[in-house]
């Protein structure tokens, strides 16, 4: 008798649990307002990344094409993957002494793991993270970028 009771109880609770599950999916089926998918290419105009978003490493330049980088190479030293190469040059400073300036700040985006050590350790805060995230290119060499803009120079007052 007990086993017969159990047989029907199993059926009852089984069906009940299945119906409970179906209420969840059924509820979402009839509430299209809950859709969470982002319509990515359509919402590009309104898509705003968080301000701290790590899209790529950039070197901010001001309006006069000045940046903060002294070419000290600390970022290169700290990068775990070797994705930064700093090529610096020495020129004659105004007071006759040799001054180190940056020639090229090469950044291999393809090797970067966004550990943010370069941005964090830069003594002059010359590096920052850019918001750009659409990095797909057809050629890997295009991922190697030179961060200092052509003709740019260091902002006055931050030289070594």
């Amino acid at each position: 008798m007990n086993s017969i009771y159990k047989y029907f109880a199993d059926i009852f609770y089984g069906v009940k649990s299945l119906l409970t599950g179906m209420t969840v999916t059924g509820k979402y089926f009839f509430s299209p307002g809950q859709i969470v998918t982002q319509q990515y290419p359509e919402n590009r105009k309104t898509l705003k990344m968080y301000e701290r978003f790590k899209g790529e490493v950039i070197m901010p330049h001001d309006g006069n094409n000045h940046h903060h980088c002294t070419g000290c190479g600390i970022c290169e030293l700290n990068c775990p993957n070797g994705s930064i190469e700093v090529i610096s040059a020495r020129i004659d400073g105004p007071d006759g002494k040799k001054v180190r300036i940056i020639d090229k700040h090469i950044y291999h985006l393809g090797m970067c793991t966004f550990c943010s050590l370069c941005v964090k350790t830069c003594p002059e805060n010359a590096l920052a993270f850019g918001q750009e995230f659409e990095h797909a290119v057809f050629d890997r060499t295009l991922l190697t970028k030179i961060l200092n803009q052509p003709g740019s120079s260091i902002i006055k007052g931050t030289e070594e």
Binding site: T25, G26, I35, V36
Partner: protein, 364 residues
């Protein structure tokens, strides 16, 4: 009656085509042309329904999962399945080493022919009925079970262990659940006293069988839903495919158009069992009538019978999709347990109950 408008329209259309052909051609050629026309119409219908069902499934599951679903190709993505179909047609047909070539190539056709044959006996509307067997239900059950042969052959000939496991599971599953589908239909046959589809539908003019037969008919409907879901290899009974266990089960090795055949056949099988369910339990193309409410019945009659039929079928298909996108998959032994320990005994008892009710005249 308003539904007579549609009936006479269909009847006169088919009759005029028939008469025209027989006047113009000799009876033999007229028959050939007639068959060809019917075949082409069905093929068109088949492809259309298949494409639409794939789209519907993707949309339904997307909405259940808080997604949008296909929305790129065409407005609301309605041409997505056509694009998919073109992609599948253009894909390479991979030839498997050491596979049984003949069986490997034949299997998708067996599956698709089995589902194609079943469609012939389904009444879409009054008079819109390719062939009206007096044992229509029996025919449909017999033909739709043929598909498992194709599945078994596909699994065997692929020379792939995953496929073989999937095919064997499918064999065990369909043979078991065929029984429950048959039994649950038998319950209604007892009530209706006929196996002919046209008479079955006619018998539901005032009250569908699910209402007429009340408790046993309702139980039979539930069992039919479960068993037919299992018979069409759909989730939660998709053990033959079980993509998290067997990658893709019996059609792992198929590509291109042959895969498309399996894919299409799966959705068509779903359509066919839903049609049978709609016809047998929910009155097929018969509008919703209530005995005595003449005005109400006339309003209902203004909705064409074909729309009634499609609506009911769509409802059952939607139920089956709802099952699939809610439940986790069963294990093979649980699947057989469910059939032999639960569905079958309940079914047998249910038939007895129905027979008793019919005998006592306790149905409506």
């Amino acid at each position: 009656m308003a539904s007579n408008i549609y009936d006479t329209f269909i009847a006169s259309l088919t009759q005029s085509i028939h008469n025209g052909l027989y006047n113009a051609l000799s009876p033999f050629w007229a028959l050939i042309v007639e068959l060809t026309i019917i075949g082409l119409v069905f093929m068109m219908f088949y492809a259309l329904v298949g494409l639409f069902l794939v789209y519907a499934e993707r949309k339904v599951c997307a909405f259940m999962q808080n997604r949008v679903g296909p929305n790129r190709v065409g407005p609301y993505g309605i041409f997505q399945t056509i694009a998919d179909f073109i992609k599948l047609v253009m894909k390479e047909l991979v030839v498997i080493k050491n596979s049984d070539k003949l069986l490997f190539n034949i299997a998708p056709f067996i599956v698709i022919i089995a589902s194609f044959m079943a469609i012939a006996a389904i009444p879409f509307s009054k008079g819109l009925h390719a062939i009206d067997f007096d044992i229509g239900i029996l025919y449909v059950i017999a033909v739709s079970a043929l598909g498992v042969v194709g599945v078994l052959l596909a699994g065997w000939s692929s020379n792939n262990k995953y496929s073989l496991i999937g095919a064997m599971r499918s064999g065990a599953q369909i043979i078991s659940y065929e029984l429950s589908v048959g039994m649950s239909l038998l319950t209604i046959i007892i009530l209706a006293g006929t196996m002919q589809f046209s008479e079955l539908v006619q018998g539901q003019e005032y009250g569908w069988f699910i209402f007429k037969g009340h408790i046993p008919a309702f139980i039979a409907f539930i069992i039919f839903l479960i068993a037919s879901t299992a018979e069409t290899n759909r989730g939660p009974f998709d053990l033959a495919e079980a993509e998290s266990e067997l990658t893709a089960g019996y059609h792992t090795e198929y590509s291109g158009i042959k895969f498309a055949f399996f894919f299409l056949a799966e959705y068509m099988n779903m359509f066919i069992v839903a049609s049978i369910g709609a016809t047998v339990f929910l009155g097929g193309w018969m509008p919703f009538h209530v005995w005595g409410w003449t005005g109400f019945n006339q309003v209902m009659d203004y909705i064409p019978p074909f729309v009634w039929y499609i609506g009911k079928t769509a409802f059952i298909i939607w139920l089956m999709m709802w099952f699939k996108w809610t439940f986790p998959r069963l294990r093979i032994d649980q699947l057989l347990n469910l059939e032999w320990k639960y569905l079958l005994p309940i079914n047998l008892f249910n038939i007895l109950l129905m027979a008793f009710i019919v005998l006592m005249g306790w149905h409506f």
